[in-house]
Subunit: 199 residues, 2 copies
Amino acid sequence: MPKIGMEPIRRKALVDATIVEIGRSGSLDVTVSQIAKRAGMSSALAHHYFGGKDQIFMAAMRHILSVYGAQVRAALSVSHQPRARLEAIIRASFEAGNFRGEVVSAWMNFYVQSQTSEGAKRLLNIYQARLRSNLLHELRPLIGPRAPDVAANVAALIDGYYIRHALRGSLSDGRLASDRVLDCLDMMLTAQPKSGEFK
Amino acid sequence: MPKIGMEPIRRKALVDATIVEIGRSGSLDVTVSQIAKRAGMSSALAHHYFGGKDQIFMAAMRHILSVYGAQVRAALSVSHQPRARLEAIIRASFEAGNFRGEVVSAWMNFYVQSQTSEGAKRLLNIYQARLRSNLLHELRPLIGPRAPDVAANVAALIDGYYIRHALRGSLSDGRLASDRVLDCLDMMLTAQPKSGEFK
DNA sequence: ATTTTTATTGATTGACGAGTCAATTAAAAT
DNA sequence: ATTTTAATTGACTCGTCAATCAATAAAAAT
């Protein structure tokens, strides 16, 4: 019963199903058939709309990234002081949504895939560049030349706590992780510049 | 030409080959045949000695972990002040060896596998617990009650910079990463305790 | 010398999974 | 009314790969 305009609906269903299935299995060892079944269609149709497995994964990752981006933007839109905006960025990174098992799984596997797939590497670079740029923008007015180093540290902290979560889904929920990052951030903000700082 | 006592030699060859192959492919999508070929034997023999693919991977990971552990111990054995010992631990984590593409790949994939495999999760827990315990032991005499939080932050920083390395094999070599972690550590050490610290 | 044990592999099995294709359905366009 | 076009799938092809096994070879033990 071909109603016209199915394409976007099917694509969305497949992307959602992909994320769920990755979470369920905890790896990228997910068959197109599993995904298609969960999305309520045949595997042939999945291939029809996406061309191949890789492209389905890529679309799923792009979706996750765009949701994350929207969260950050939303959080930033209500904060106006640099410190508050930093907090907004950090908290957005650990929002419950990003912290769901499926999403963490997707990220983990995405890191792995970025060593093989050009497309994955590019996407991941976009994420990292955006995070860095966001942090830098707020840090500069606060600490000037020390901003790049601190930004790198904060970014690493975020990724590190994220990974830690991949391991034990229980301990350290988002709140705790972001509190710790913030705590560390404040220490870095108030620390006096090191003496031998000139390159 | 069965010389006796081949088993340990073959096992070692397989473990080494596994790490190389994981690095080469950037993923766990490595066939037993590839590993066996690189180790100079038939895939049947690999199965004969290890039983199955999973066990080969596990042995490879155990090996990486044990090398890392030895590095840490070696570095600690020549440092005696808490601050110096902390530096030793951190630098050991970013030693050139651990930072080789193969090893990073293995770690990445190991994180992923830890969501599926009980054995992988257990191994990873050992690593994390040991790191935490090592850090804690040196931090306590320096900052007392703040030690646990700082230890968690340092651990997250290490993992975070590690991951960042999975992405771009070029920028930020081990030296730079450990310098940054140390920098951040010093800030945390000198920061004054927060006021509302009592839980 | 013959038996036992260890090492070793080629060939095979069996399962699974990505991607293709021809065929079917029904809406839309003419 | 017929033609075109989008949606949809079951069945099939083709590869790949983990795991098994029977067979061989040679050192060790008797």
